[in-house]
């Protein structure tokens, strides 16, 4: 029996945009050092769910959030937005390197935190690139513009940029949806490696990807969690029509 420890949890989390309910009473546990996967069809509220966990959703005044989210047992409202976002890192669907060098991209978050000695920064940038599995590919010239990297490399750069802040949780919002199969495979391997040091939350509509990497899976459909459990296989035994339709579409 594996002992599972919560690092984050949501209680009665609901999000509305005007009259439309995007998330409806979500109770979910995020387990430490696991790949926690949220699967479901597009438009089901997966990305909004992630944006609630680091309060990115607060940037849009059209969204109204209710319910509670806890990080390490403490309500996320008790953290400053800045501290919360440093502890709950996020990587987006499309690689979003800033128009600057590889080095400066990775060091960006560190520089925001204030003065860090140059040799410490060098070492942390390299460590983060190693953790993201990118170091060997870019080490010959860290000053090259990030835009010259391939899509897969750019996405791993974004992961390195998030990792340099040593987050407790790393959220990945469909991180491979714009990548070719080889680059996608690299990121999937990386997710499995990263869970040893970080807690990973993966949002995906790709059930095959969930099968490869997920330790704990929740199915989000029309703003509601309709199934949740260890691994992915339990989803197959569901009798829900929504689940069957999703799995049928996803395996095509």
């Amino acid at each position: 029996m594996i002992h599972l420890e919560n690092i984050m949890e949501t209680r009665k989390l609901s999000v509305k945009a005007g009259q439309k309910t995007i998330l409806d009473n979500i109770d979910i546990n995020i387990y430490r050092h696991r790949v926690n996967t949220i699967v479901g069809p597009s438009g089901g509220g997966k990305s909004t769910f992630l944006k609630c966990l680091n309060r990115l959703v607060d940037l849009d005044s059209n969204y109204h959030v209710s319910g509670d989210i806890f990080l390490e047992g403490k309500n996320i409202r008790e953290y400053s937005e800045i501290e919360l976002r440093r502890r709950v890192g996020m990587v987006f669907q499309r690689p979003n390197p800033f128009p600057m060098s590889v080095y400066d991209n990775v060091a960006f978050g560190l520089r925001l935190q204030g003065k860090v000695k140059q040799h410490e920064m060098d070492s942390m940038v390299k460590d983060s690139l190693r953790e993201a599995g990118l170091f060997d590919e870019v080490n010959d010239n860290l000053n090259r513009p990030a835009s010259t990297l391939s899509g897969g490399q750019q996405q791993r750069l974004c992961i390195a940029r998030a990792l340099i802040l040593k987050p407790s949780v790393l959220m990945l919002d469909e991180p491979t949806s714009s990548l070719d199969p080889v680059a996608k495979g690299r990121i999937e391997e990386l997710m499995i490696q990263l869970r040893e040091r970080y807690t990973v939350i993966l949002v995906t509509h790709d059930i095959t990807q969930a099968r490869k990497v997920s330790d704990h899976t929740s199915m989000l459909f029309n703003g509601k969690i309709i199934a949740s459990g260890e691994g992915v296989d339990f989803l197959e035994s569901s009798s829900s029509d929504a689940m069957k339709a999703f799995l049928g579409d996803a395996t095509v």
């Binding site: 005044s61 800045i82 976002r85 890192g89 996020m90 499309r94 979003n96 128009p99 960006f108 978050g109």
Partner: protein, 325 residues
């Protein structure tokens, strides 16, 4: 029907060429009228500040094949200096205020109020310059004369340019402040537009790394969209360089006296053309009109160059935003 179409095509072609035709013809007209002054003054046109219409009672003189009033001199050094100093001062005042306004509009006010503020800022750009000038005379000049300039002289007396006589409140500072108010809407407008063209992924990427709103805005305006910021500033500068009426009202409109401090009266190229044109018609040789044409030509070249450069730079950065979208 075919004839109608042909006529319509011809008409639209004609209309599309009209702006080019107008611009070229104005340039040609101004250049043509400048030729006698160019031949009379040569390079001294730029190196002397003496603007003197000559002595009417003495016979005109003939130099380089042109006729000019006796002892006349047409030097634009004072106007050039006044234009550059007042415009530079306007930029120095307007840039930080525009930056703060853009930050406030983009990051600190709710979206409903944001739209209202942007429309207000756009309205500011539409206020006739004579109203700015009137406000300058009634409100700004007394304020500068009685309060601000004496205070500045006391506090900054050791800084070059800030010691010296205070005359009336009209002058460099008043011109700089008025011009700053006039160009802030232009710079804010470009900054806000460039802000909006930054892809959401980039903004969210910065925020998720723990950036504060201030850090986000500072990075976007001074780094990510810095070319837009430069472009907007140059467009503002273009407006400041060519502004006539408001500056004419608050500058003191002096001739033949170079400024000795920031409190000195001044004159600019555009204001000089407006204020000296009337008397120039009394010059029977036509040289005064020609000199004002040359002054206009120089102003036109500087303003157009700054505007073209500003538009190119601002446009390029918008393209860069799309590239990353």
């Amino acid at each position: 029907m075919d004839t109608k179409n042909k006529f319509f095509n011809f008409l639209t072609l004609l209309m599309s060429l009209l702006p080019v035709f107008i611009l070229v013809s104005i340039f040609a007209f101004v250049f043509y009228y400048s030729i006698p002054a160019i031949r009379y003054m040569g390079v001294r046109f730029f190196t002397t500040y003496l603007w003197y219409p000559g002595i009417e009672s003495r016979p005109p003189i003939h130099i380089n094949g042109v006729t000019a009033p006796y002892a006349s001199s047409y030097g634009i050094l004072l106007f050039l200096t006044g234009t550059l100093i007042s415009s530079a001062l306007a930029i120095v005042i307007a840039l930080p205020l525009s930056f703060l306004s853009s930050m406030a509009v983009e990051l600190y006010v709710p979206s409903g109020i944001k739209k209202f503020l942007i429309s207000m800022i756009e309205l500011f750009a539409g206020i006739p310059s004579v109203i700015y000038g009137l406000w300058g005379i009634i409100v700004l000049e007394p304020l500068l004369f009685h309060d601000i300039e004496p205070w500045m002289r006391d506090v900054l007396s050791t800084v070059p340019g800030f010691a010296g006589e205070i005359y009336s409140g009209a002058g460099i500072l008043a011109s700089g402040v008025i011009l700053a108010f006039m160009i802030i809407p232009i710079i804010v407008s470009v900054m806000v537009n460039s802000f909006d063209t930054v892809p959401a992924e980039i903004k969210h990427g910065i925020v998720t790394l723990g950036a504060t709103k201030w850090e986000l805005g500072k990075y976007l305006i001074t780094d990510y969209s810095r070319m837009s910021t430069y472009g907007g500033t140059l467009l503002g500068l273009g407006r400041a360089l060519g502004e006539t009426m408001a500056v004419l009202m608050v500058s003191g409109a002096v001739v033949n006296v170079l400024p000795s401090s920031f409190y000195s009266a001044i004159n600019t190229m555009a204001a000089a053309v407006a204020s000296l044109l009337d008397s120039a018609f009394f010059d029977a040789t036509g040289m005064s009109i020609s000199a004002l044409s040359e002054l206009s030509l120089v102003l036109m070249i500087i303003s157009l160059s700054v505007n073209v450069l500003g538009r190119r730079i601002a446009g390029r950065s918008v393209l860069r935003g799309e590239e990353f979208d």
